[in-house]
């Protein structure tokens, strides 16, 4: 820490860079994958049920494309909009997966490491870093105050000696 302090004061603000990392250690990729799967299965169920229970219509539904059939009911319409939202979520999830894989590769970490472990390690390090910085700062302040006391003592002795010699 003192090496960092002496060489690069700016690096001491490391925790400012890692604000989003604090919350990220609580996000589980596994949980995200499970939730995404749950949503995709839910949409499939909704689509199936909506297609099974269509309102009476003169047009034979077998000839229509799936999306048109679904658009005929409120639940079908929901399934269509939810389906496109979920596609975006799946894309986001794929982005996270590739970004994190790149990050692991960048730092040469094992590809099997989970984001929870990775970000937890970083958070622990950053908090130790900040803690040590505070400790160091406290020690320095104590040193400075000791020095100033010593300085005042020296001045006092000097004044006394002048007084002595003037006699």
């Amino acid at each position: 820490m003192s090496i960092v302090q002496k060489n690069d004061e700016d690096v001491l603000k490391l925790s400012d860079d890692f604000v989003p990392v604090k919350a990220a250690e609580r996000v589980s990729m596994e949980m995200l994958a499970q939730q995404l799967k749950e949503v995709q299965q839910g949409i499939e169920l909704v689509k199936n049920v909506a297609k099974r229970h269509l309102p009476d219509s003169d047009v034979p539904v077998v000839d229509l494309p799936d999306d048109d059939i679904l658009a005929a009911t409120p639940m079908g319409q929901f399934a269509l909009s939810a389906s496109s939202t979920t596609q975006l979520l799946a894309n986001d999830y794929a982005d996270v997966k590739s970004n994190f894989a790149d990050l692991l590769q960048f730092f040469g970490e094992e590809t099997t490491m989970t984001p929870e472990v990775f970000f937890c390690t970083i958070n622990t390090f950053v908090s130790l870093f900040d803690q040590t910085h505070k400790e160091l700062k406290r020690k320095e302040e104590a040193k400075v105050s000791t020095q100033s006391v010593q300085y005042e003592l020296n001045i006092h002795q000097y004044e006394l000696s002048i007084h002595y010699y003037s006699f």
Binding site: D17, V27, V49, R52, H53, P55, G108, L128
Partner: protein
């Protein structure tokens, strides 16, 4: 009707509705009817005389019947059937006590001055209960939140329309759908489906809150799947937001770590310091370290303090 799996109580109700003697169902088809009916008639006469001519309403148990075809040959119920009659006939019991415990006189208000409305009010309070008490209580608490008429609710569920309800409330309603046994009990209580609507409505109105809800849901096809869709719809936004927030946080965290110049510098300082400490050792002149090695710097530093 019994062979079709209808509960005994339901068959007796059906006989009553047609103006026949409900006790006929308890008779042995192998023996002549006249001989079997005689003592019963006498017994009934006795009871009627004891109750001074007033009409009596016998309390009923709406229990769940096990289908005989599901019973194994050596089950208790089959043994019980073989060893004795399933009626009270032949048992020593006090008719008066039976009457006091299980029957209540039905008062005739036609001559009294009280208006008929009062009588109907009392009758309307006596709701028919067919399901387990705890389930009924929990269900009633849930259903009181929904002021909508159950028939309207059933229509909305059938069309899977949007219902203003939380996901957990809809989940509660899903769990409150009648089970197989409850469906059987309700079907046996309700008039047949081809009966006039007014008769069905009247029977439903006599049911408790939960039973009314279950009764209307009985006729919604594919009701469970439809409810599951509605639950999913109600919970979708929350679930989608949770996934979106999670992915957003992870992407931001990945970028902040990868783009932090300060972190790269720290890693470099750590590497240099570690190499300086390890000079002459096995880990001399290392070019890369795992991130968890950073945590060991703190350990080294603490050990140094201990040594000091």
């Amino acid at each position: 009707m019994l062979k079709m799996g209808m509960p005994l109580g339901a068959v007796q109700n059906a006989l009553k509705k047609e103006g026949r003697d409900a006790n006929i169902i308890n008779l042995d088809p192998e023996k002549p009817m006249s001989r079997q009916l005689q003592p019963k008639v006498e017994e009934t006469k006795k009871e009627v005389t004891k109750l001074k001519g007033g009409n009596v309403a016998r309390k009923r148990i709406h229990w769940n019947k096990i289908d005989e075809s599901k019973l194994s040959a050596d089950s208790f119920w089959n043994q019980a059937k073989e060893h004795s009659s399933l009626q009270l006939v032949g048992l020593d019991f006090d008719n008066e006590e039976f009457a006091s415990l299980f029957t209540s006189p039905v008062k005739n208000h036609s001559n009294s001055e009280k208006p008929a409305a009062a009588a109907s009010k009392v009758a309307s309070k006596q709701k028919v209960q067919l399901i387990d008490g705890r389930r009924r209580m929990n269900g009633s608490i849930l259903l009181t939140k929904f002021k909508v008429d159950y028939k309207t609710l059933a229509r909305q569920v059938n069309a899977m329309e949007y219902i203003e309800a939380e996901g957990n409330e809809l989940r509660g309603m899903l769990q409150l759908l009648p089970t197989k046994d409850e469906s059987l009990a309700l079907r046996s209580y309700l008039p047949p489906q081809d009966a006039p609507q007014s008769e069905i409505d009247e029977a439903i109105a006599k049911l408790g809150e939960c039973e009314q809800y279950m009764a209307v849901m009985l006729d919604v096809p594919d009701v469970k799947d439809k409810f599951q869709c509605m639950v999913f719809r109600a919970e979708f936004v929350h679930l989608a937001e949770s996934i979106k927030d999670g992915t957003k946080l992870l992407i931001e965290a990945c970028e902040s770590v990868k783009n932090s110049e300060r972190f790269r510098k720290v890693l470099l300082y750590a590497l240099k310091l570690g190499n300086a400490l390890n000079t002459g050792g096995a880990n001399e002149e290392v070019t890369a370290i795992t991130l968890d090695s950073l945590l060991k710097l703190a350990e080294v530093s603490q050990t140094e303090h201990l040594v000091d």
